[in-house]
């Protein structure tokens, strides 16, 4: 929990990693390129005081994660999102065993989301059933741009993937986090293209599609589909750190998201260890949209509370202490949406 000026904020960090980018885990040069690219993101967008050394960054382990999130970082609950990248790393980029161990030790603090790849066909589907049981899955993280043999990506709307989504419905895996944003860009199956989310969101209204990184750098395409689909959410991973390097751009992005997507459909995350939650939360609670950006109303304390934790808590049925609750329509696809969405649907 974070407290400032007499207000209490329940914090859910909805996108964290425990990874191993060390040399001994790299399968090929792309493993090196990938962790280097992450390190550049970290170095470029973090305040100087929050920067890690390269050695710390490639592997930091569970103990440090617990400290950075829960001791120093005000986080009440965090959700692991696995990023397997089996073509680049021998045991996968995410340390799934170590993450799962931590979840078992701290079930009140941590949730584990696994992953699937529809290109694994029937065998993968069986694995998904086994994983759902083992990890008690409520969510998955999908990398539609992940390489797989000769394939450089897939679409959520591919028939093979629909089979998996239907299985998710059956298994109660209701939160589908989709990486749509920087890094790992294949060719025509464009990593930023959100059209496939649009196609499946309307077919599976009982699933929530959390678009991580909001489709940056094509925010407008994401905003447009979010107005059309009431079960599409904006995952703020990678958006958050712009609050430091480029506050005005951050204000514009938040203003646009509040307008098109709405305060009940935005979820905070640090994308740890890309960035650490402490400074992001402190800055976000202090943040206000500049007065001269007259298209946007000022952001309210209640909106910040929803974005920082209450929305994600609703999606994952995380228990929020009575006095910290606010009504949110997150998780409810039947409710009225954002102002921009109303206008877009009406026209």
């Amino acid at each position: 929990m974070y407290t400032k000026d007499g207000e209490n904020y329940f914090i859910v960090d909805s996108h964290v990693h425990l990874w191993d980018g060390r040399k001994q885990n790299q399968k090929n040069v792309h493993g090196q390129e990938f962790i280097d690219c992450f390190f550049d993101y970290h170095s470029n967008l973090s305040p100087d005081s929050e920067k890690w050394s390269y050695d710390e960054y490639v592997y930091y382990g569970g103990e440090r994660l617990m400290k950075d999130l829960f001791e120093d970082g005000y986080v009440d609950h965090a959700i692991f999102q696995s990023t397997m990248l089996m073509e680049f790393y021998k045991r996968g980029f995410s340390c799934s065993d170590e993450s799962w161990d931590l979840v078992q030790k701290h079930p009140d603090k941590l949730t584990y989301n696994h992953s699937f790849d529809p290109r694994n066909g029937e065998a993968g589907l069986k694995q998904l059933v086994a994983d759902a049981e083992k990890f008690n899955l409520r969510g998955v993280k999908l990398y539609t741009a992940e390489w797989h043999g000769d394939s450089r990506g897939y679409k959520l709307s591919d028939p093979g993937c629909r089979t998996y989504l239907e299985k998710c419905l059956e298994l109660g895996i209701t939160n589908i986090h989709v990486h749509k944003g920087p890094t790992l860009k294949p060719l025509d199956k464009d990593a930023f293209n959100v059209d496939d989310v649009d196609a499946v969101a309307s077919d599976y209204l009982d699933l929530n599609f959390i678009v991580e990184h909001c489709g940056l750098p094509r925010l407008e395409d994401f905003c447009w589909i979010a107005t059309q689909e009431s079960n599409v959410y904006a995952g703020l991973s990678v958006v958050m750190p712009f609050i430091h390097t480029r506050p005005r751009y951050f204000a514009e992005v938040i203003g646009e998201l509040l307008y098109w997507v709405g305060e009940d459909k935005m979820t905070f995350s640090s994308d740890y260890a890309l960035w650490t939650p402490k400074w992001l939360i402190e800055k976000f609670v202090d943040f206000q949209i500049p007065e001269d950006l007259t298209d946007y109303a000022p952001i309210t304390t209640d909106q910040k509370k929803k974005i920082l934790g209450l929305n994600a808590a609703a999606l994952y049925d995380i228990e929020v202490p009575e006095h910290l609750r606010l009504p949110t329509s997150a998780g409810d696809a039947d409710t009225e949406v954002a102002p921009g969405a109303k206008q877009a649907v009406a026209s």
């Binding site: 470029n44 060719l187 025509d188 199956k189 464009d190 407008e220 751009y249 514009e252 992005v253 298209d295």
Partner: protein, 257 residues
């Protein structure tokens, strides 16, 4: 008639400045993507670099092949070679460029769609952002109201760089630039109907915010990635006709405004 002599270095840089990053809508020379230009008796060698190893290979191909075409248009330039450095698909793209293999020839089965369509998508976005800048300027600095935006014509816009940019974007997507053309139109030059103006203007704003944000992010990442090299400068050497002593210079990329 006046003939202004231009050095070959300047001609090469000018040619390269016509190559735009399709997503950021800015010249690759301003973005710091041109790492080096080496001129010798045989020809010109250009090295291109990008902000990450994972920058989209289709965009990477588009920019490097445009660079190759642009420099080849210079008279008596000799053999032109363009290389993409430090990219996950560098080998593939460099082999494709050297063989003039084209997009499909370079990527084979991975390339499903044509690059022209991709290019068009981003030219349309650039046009949308340019319209929004011009309209916002009028809303802010003249008595124009949102209700009257649909009436705005090109000759109602004051001269200056944002109008020039709009005219260039219109030309790029095949729209005319006559003084009485409407400003707020779709990609086929159909004026936005008055009742749709508020929503479409709002949407155009999100397009503009995206493009500007990307530009900042990409410049920042490039700077971080190549922090050990001289800022975002292009290293230029010219040994043509002076086999023993070459000249060397640097051009600094303009910083983001």
């Amino acid at each position: 008639m006046t003939i202004v002599a231009m050095s070959l270095e300047a001609e090469v840089m000018e040619a390269l400045s016509t190559v735009l990053d399709p997503e950021l809508d800015e010249p690759i020379t301003d973005l710091g993507f041109v790492r080096s230009v080496d001129i010798d008796d045989v020809g010109v060698t250009v090295h291109v670099r990008l902000p990450t190893s994972f920058c989209s290979p289709n965009f990477a191909y588009l920019m490097t092949s445009d660079a190759l075409d642009a420099v080849r248009r210079i008279e008596d330039v000799g053999q032109v070679r363009v290389f993409l450095d430090d990219h996950h698909d560098s080998d593939k793209i460099n082999a494709g460029l050297a063989a003039d293999a084209g997009y499909r020839g370079t990527f084979g089965g991975e390339a499903e769609d044509s690059l022209d369509e991709l290019r068009r998508t981003f030219q349309v976005k650039a046009h949308t952002a340019a319209m929004e800048r011009c309209i916002e300027e009028r809303l802010k600095n003249s008595g124009l109201t949102v209700a009257d935006v649909y009436r705005l014509r090109l000759n109602n816009l004051p001269g200056g760089h944002i109008k020039d940019a709009l005219l260039r974007r219109r030309t790029a997507i095949g729209l005319g630039i006559g003084p009485h053309a409407r400003v707020f139109v779709d990609e086929h030059d159909v004026p936005v109907p008055p009742d749709e103006v508020p929503l479409r203007l709002r949407f155009a704003k999100s397009v503009r915010i995206s493009i500007e944000g990307n530009s900042h992010f990409c410049r920042g990442l490039l700077g971080t990635r190549y922090a050990d090299e001289d800022d975002l400068t292009t290293r230029i050497t010219n040994t043509r006709g002076t086999s023993s002593s070459g000249t060397s210079s640097r051009l600094t990329a303009r910083s983001a405004s």
